[in-house]
């Protein structure tokens, strides 16, 4: 048996990823442009275990388009899309981040189920030695959310923290790294 390579360990993104022209791309938060008629605004705050905002975090999102299509060779469905699906936003001094995107469609699972519309989230920051992953679900999808295989496996008392909160012309999704209302995080 040949020796297969082992994976490279993760290390913290550190405090300095936001160098000029660094990881925060100018168009990072804009998954879709302002001309997109169905654009939604997603905003939130990254909060640490002391309840303080995290001003040096990096939030990334990955999602399907409005019809549940993904631009990727490993999506075996016939659908195609030019939707970028990826967003990246550094948190500001108040720990706040935002994205302009579209609400994704539901997705089929290999076992014949359906996943409710959701956005995958990666959180990176100084003081985090590995990324953590969570998901954003939508408040106007109660029936789909109730049968979503991931959401329904979350402790019922914590489920609501994965559902974005409707605000005037936006959805709010705060991420709490610790505490009584710690956001549920996932191992992928």
């Amino acid at each position: 048996m040949t020796d297969l390579p082992r994976t490279t360990p993760s290390q913290t993104v550190g405090p300095f990823f936001a160098l000029p022209d660094g990881l925060p791309w100018p168009d990072g938060p804009e998954v879709v442009g302002t001309e997109e008629p169905d654009a939604i605004l997603l905003r939130g705050q990254l909060i640490d275990g002391a309840g303080e905002p995290v001003p040096d975090g990096l939030i990334e999102i990955w999602q399907a388009d409005e019809r549940g299509r993904i631009q990727h060779p490993d999506d075996p469905r016939d659908d195609s899309t030019s939707f970028r699906g990826f967003g990246r936003c550094a948190t500001n001094a108040e720990g706040r981040f935002w994205f302009r995107t579209v609400k994704p469609g539901a997705l089929p699972t290999p076992s014949g189920g359906t996943e409710a519309p959701h956005i995958n989230v990666t959180v990176l920051a100084r003081g985090m030695l590995d990324r953590v992953v969570t998901r954003i679900y939508f408040p106007d999808e109660p029936r789909a959310n109730a049968v979503d295989p991931v959401l329904s496996a979350v402790d019922p008392e914590r489920r609501a923290t994965l559902v974005a909160v409707p605000e005037t012309e936006a959805f709010r999704f705060d991420i709490r790294l610790q505490g009584d209302d710690e956001t549920p995080f996932f191992a992928v």
């Binding site: 390579p5 300095f16 490993d74 999506d75």
Partner: protein, 248 residues
């Protein structure tokens, strides 16, 4: 190709990616003080690898400018410091190349100072060095940067704490599951022993995988030393138990 879960009534077959938790540091690592308020404390729930997880952003060459791979030519003059080449392959843990994937790097200058408003280290900035690079891997997973060797820098984690010289790397691979942010170190750094970030990886063999290798063969005579650094992302789950697990 990756291993696939068995076809079923849906006809939707997806790749699956091996878990590699043993390679990675624990989020809660007390020696690294900033983890105290930032490491989630509840157990992580296992996320099934469905469509959103086994796909990932296809970020093309439009993200990469002509001089993005050469951090020594991004300004009017050459940066000060020791010019180096940093190159290697991006692979998965099946040994397969990861082609056409975006590699992003950032680093301090040769004096150990980042070109960042938050960096308070009283070392000089270099007007000819921004410290940011990008490139795409080629069809065989190869990448290559020209840069200068970053300096060590002090930080406030403990008394007289210094980070070993390092270059930050960010990789996407081809799937959300493969996303990796890491740091590349240099061989023989005398600062390793006191660095809690390096030592947050508990397995010494895994720590070795973050250290680049000096390579005389690709060192360019009269011009630049060469360091090789291969990066391994998660591959398919090729364990003997996989089929069993999948059949239910």
């Amino acid at each position: 190709m990756h291993s696939r879960t068995p076809t079923n009534t849906t006809g939707l077959t997806l790749p699956s990616y091996e878990r590699d938790d043993s390679s990675h540091p624990a989020l809660a690592t007390p020696e690294y003080g900033s983890t105290r308020l930032r490491a989630p404390q509840r157990p992580l729930q296992l996320l099934p690898q469905n469509l959103t997880e086994v796909t990932g952003p296809v970020l093309g060459h439009e993200r990469v400018g002509a001089t993005d791979h050469d951090l020594t030519v991004q300004h009017g003059g050459e940066p000060l410091g020791e010019r180096i080449l940093v190159s290697g392959r991006v692979l998965d843990s099946d040994g397969r190349a990861v082609p056409d994937t975006l590699v992003e790097i950032w680093q301090a200058n040769s004096a150990g100072r980042y070109c960042h408003v938050g960096d308070q280290h009283p070392a000089p900035l270099d007007p000819n060095f921004s410290g940011v690079g990008r490139c795409m891997t080629d069809s065989e997973g190869n990448y290559r940067f020209v840069t200068i060797k970053p300096g060590a820098y002090p930080w406030g984690n403990h008394t007289n704490a210094w980070r070993p010289a390092h270059i930050h790397f960010s990789l996407f691979g081809r799937a959300f599951t493969q996303r990796l942010v890491t740091q590349m170190y240099f061989p023989g750094d005398p600062l390793f022993y006191q660095d809690p970030i390096f030592h947050s990886v508990r397995d010494p063999r895994a720590r070795e995988r973050m250290i680049s290798r000096f390579d005389l063969d690709t060192t360019v005579p009269e011009w630049a030393l060469s360091f090789k650094f291969d990066i391994v992302l998660r591959g398919s789950a090729a364990t003997p138990f996989e089929d069993e697990e999948d059949e239910h």
